[in-house]
Symmetry: D2
Amino acid sequence: MAPPLGDIAHLGHVELLTPDLDGSLRFFTDYLGLTVNGRSGDSVYLRTWDDYEHHSLVLTAHQTSGLRRTALRASSEEALQRRVKELEAAGHQGRWTEDEPGLGPLYVTADPDGHEVALYWESEWYQAPDELKPGLKNQPQAKPGHGVGVRRLDHVNYLAADVAANADFHQHLLGARPTEQIQLDGGRIAAKWLTFTNKSYDVVYTEDWTGSRGRLHHIAFATDTREDILRAADLALDTGVFIETGPHKHAIQQTFFLYVYEPGGNRIELCNPLTRLVLAPDWPLITWTQAERAKGQAWGLKTIESFHTHGTPPLDPAADH
Amino acid sequence: MAPPLGDIAHLGHVELLTPDLDGSLRFFTDYLGLTVNGRSGDSVYLRTWDDYEHHSLVLTAHQTSGLRRTALRASSEEALQRRVKELEAAGHQGRWTEDEPGLGPLYVTADPDGHEVALYWESEWYQAPDELKPGLKNQPQAKPGHGVGVRRLDHVNYLAADVAANADFHQHLLGARPTEQIQLDGGRIAAKWLTFTNKSYDVVYTEDWTGSRGRLHHIAFATDTREDILRAADLALDTGVFIETGPHKHAIQQTFFLYVYEPGGNRIELCNPLTRLVLAPDWPLITWTQAERAKGQAWGLKTIESFHTHGTPPLDPAADH
Amino acid sequence: MAPPLGDIAHLGHVELLTPDLDGSLRFFTDYLGLTVNGRSGDSVYLRTWDDYEHHSLVLTAHQTSGLRRTALRASSEEALQRRVKELEAAGHQGRWTEDEPGLGPLYVTADPDGHEVALYWESEWYQAPDELKPGLKNQPQAKPGHGVGVRRLDHVNYLAADVAANADFHQHLLGARPTEQIQLDGGRIAAKWLTFTNKSYDVVYTEDWTGSRGRLHHIAFATDTREDILRAADLALDTGVFIETGPHKHAIQQTFFLYVYEPGGNRIELCNPLTRLVLAPDWPLITWTQAERAKGQAWGLKTIESFHTHGTPPLDPAADH
Amino acid sequence: MAPPLGDIAHLGHVELLTPDLDGSLRFFTDYLGLTVNGRSGDSVYLRTWDDYEHHSLVLTAHQTSGLRRTALRASSEEALQRRVKELEAAGHQGRWTEDEPGLGPLYVTADPDGHEVALYWESEWYQAPDELKPGLKNQPQAKPGHGVGVRRLDHVNYLAADVAANADFHQHLLGARPTEQIQLDGGRIAAKWLTFTNKSYDVVYTEDWTGSRGRLHHIAFATDTREDILRAADLALDTGVFIETGPHKHAIQQTFFLYVYEPGGNRIELCNPLTRLVLAPDWPLITWTQAERAKGQAWGLKTIESFHTHGTPPLDPAADH
């Protein structure tokens, strides 16, 4: 039986690894418009302007790129404990840690593919310093006047050897709802979108054709408007940020998108869902066939080849990018 | 103790009364871009293009204007029964009916101010006829090529003699979460915003200074973009739709808005929330003081006088509008 | 010596041929939002909402597709006579006709590639009937509530065997200013953009690789916003209008674009220039090399193959489309 | 007889006076996104990203606010000399100077109200340093990643005791075309809009009820989109820039606008004309009556009181602002 909906409230933040911390930091602050909110060791804590928590992203210097951790906030202390209990009953080993500023204890485990997943409840509400105070009291921080000015971390897209198994982990042990998927002619699930919220997706699994484990396809930040994404494309053009594909509209989930690479090599999506939400409690999982998927994106753009080959960390760093 | 979150999934639809059914119908179809999905007696059933249910709005010919019913969809049959049980335990009399196409039984009760509230679970998923088939399978219906093309019914703003009592009804008996409120200097709550979802509000109570009961301040439809609202203002200008105020941005909830009157006299808001959502499970109720409220809207627009006086049905129909 | 700038005021309208008049008419009215303003014989006269003249487009039933006439409005009667005199002195034969409603005499000649070009001065200002009266007196007609709602005919892109010769015709005999061009490695001009106004282009010549004469690459209509073009793409998706490529941003001229085919087979561009204008009286012709052109569009989209092969009328109607 | 159209190519730049040079400089660079391009004495030269010339704005420290100079670029050396000759024949004394970097000789005179007007032809084309190189060669400079990122100086709105006389000066001696005006019931012209280009206005005269001379109502910068202006309003809200009125749409000229005050006290408009242009060579001057003007802006916003009282320099600096 599925767990009660709602034990996981939302995607909290991710930790991204980069072999070029300075370059990545410039990308996330100057280009995306995130704000630095502390440093510790090799890590820098960054936040989007509408995040109520301490940080939305941890950038950590590393020998290569990739994703280290995805942190999910529970809906309550009880919800957190309930999830931990279910995970352990299902044989998912975890450990408790308290290694992030602004957060209480995190229960750290992993999905079947090996991506680290951390659950937590306690979280300090962010208090903006004077120079970042917003004009309205229902907003955590002033909107930055520079860069794209993304509102929030929107979703994570994981590469995984076995999409279905990892999606099941999120659905049955964390309470996510699957909303859309791609099913190949042979029956295999090539990608699956799941959500903890009324957003139509918070996490995605995409098949890693290379068979490697624990890699990242991309993380995504939401903008307020499609115009923000068009402006982001122009800023990328004028400042040398590499655009992989877009702007265009996805057929699946209908998100308006732009894909760029940050200097560390990780793929970053800028996304805008318009006002689309999944409000139906009985939303039926939508399945796209291989033929439907082959039609490309919503307005006809063909899916770019590198979308099927580029993941982080790269398999052969010398050959990539 | 508060009920578990989530028994009410979302706002389903409303029934609006109009003394000018033909005029109102033209407004909702030609101007807003809703689609007629059946008629019965004095009522016409209408739907927005992204509604998965049979209808988003019932328009009913009547001697005057106003709101007859607000229907809320439960998250499951169990959730529905749980809410009914709690309502009855709290002394709220209700009755079961099955008077709407595409829906199963509705439990009809009322908020303390006398606004009819109906709860239901069973709902047929809409199947578009060929001429309204969408280009993408994750969308219920083609987006209309005419009018504003609103995506969904977004929220209801009720006038009520006692805002706090009615908000409590939604919070404690229906499981809504309050997100923002206005508190007058004397302590009275002048308006309160509540939500069943990750949207920052689904229902609002605004103080009715006239002391009358059961009236409507406005219903709102969400557009995909702020540009849709600017275009809507131009269409209103060229077709004679009465604009009360806007476009502008609310300080409270930060919604981009345009208020118009439909020919029956009911106030209709076109609203765009950008990508703002309330994801925090521990969102603290934000209180705006009388002085803060007096500052007007986000960018400085003063709140228009009629905003405090016009409600439907009008108290003195001859004097209104 | 170049003629004085300004004898030609602006692009007036074009006559488009279609083997499917009914289908084309539905496209231009229902989808683009043009208004029918009279019929005559096999022709229907259509206008965009911000055109001050009788028509922006003539649609004529024909055995095949293509462009019959481009009409340019002179700045005055004297300017018209001056252009006719210069054309005739340069050996361009022409004839006077008065075959279009709302217009005085047209001097009809042709560019070197054989595209019919008509010059005129007298033009009746459009008076909207009551049902199309705009809300503001500085606008000729109400903005349509349906379809894309394009503001004006923006430019014509001709296919031509010899781009340079045809551009010279426009520059030296009609007074157009060249603003941008593509020069192939061998020195040949593959495309050239020219303007009569502060718009950065009104006419374009593109090399026709097939060696055929007098064909059309596309005509373009300007929208008010990029959002209008994104909405147009969604309407195309939901109503079955064929999208060839876009939305994206051109590197040359920086126009935001969407290319669709109308049912008669002619390529139609929806374009938005933002607020870009060429105000400099000494604007230097900008030359893009073959290598620069090969980089694709502004944000990296590769130029679609059919862009180099599809023109109207098709060379082999059976094979095309 | 009117001079030939086109001797004045476009508005070049203005010199603005400010009692708070540091504050004003921060406003124009941090908030509007202009780039500093040199300093000289008490003046700083600033440019918008799409200006091909050396500067779009000169900011000069002064004891009070206001406008010192408006510079108009001629279409050629001959055009410049022709204008000077006509001005002198009409009794308008002028002097030649060469006091601005990047420009050749300027002929400095004044309109009847005493506003300094300078005409020039020679102008060096701007070459961006490496760090400001744009991504596309048809653009002078990279679009700034911070602030509003206005594209160009759009127009100047002068206060004047006698609107008609000053408009006549622009029309008959400089070759501007009047496009719209407000005529009071008594027959007096209260405001008049004129253009040198296909833009619907470049200069505006508004009646100064105080009877003082040579004052400024506002200068305006054009953005690419209406969304840029909505974003600008949000940035103003979060950074404390004073919003006087807007965003909204003007009835006259239909411009989408936002009015703010820069720290020196001068009113600055951010404006977006969409794609509206005046292409008709025989555009009839549109006259708005006092009653039409009283209706307010396009979507119903009432004209703000300070719009009729605030000009720079202020008459009584102590009382203003």
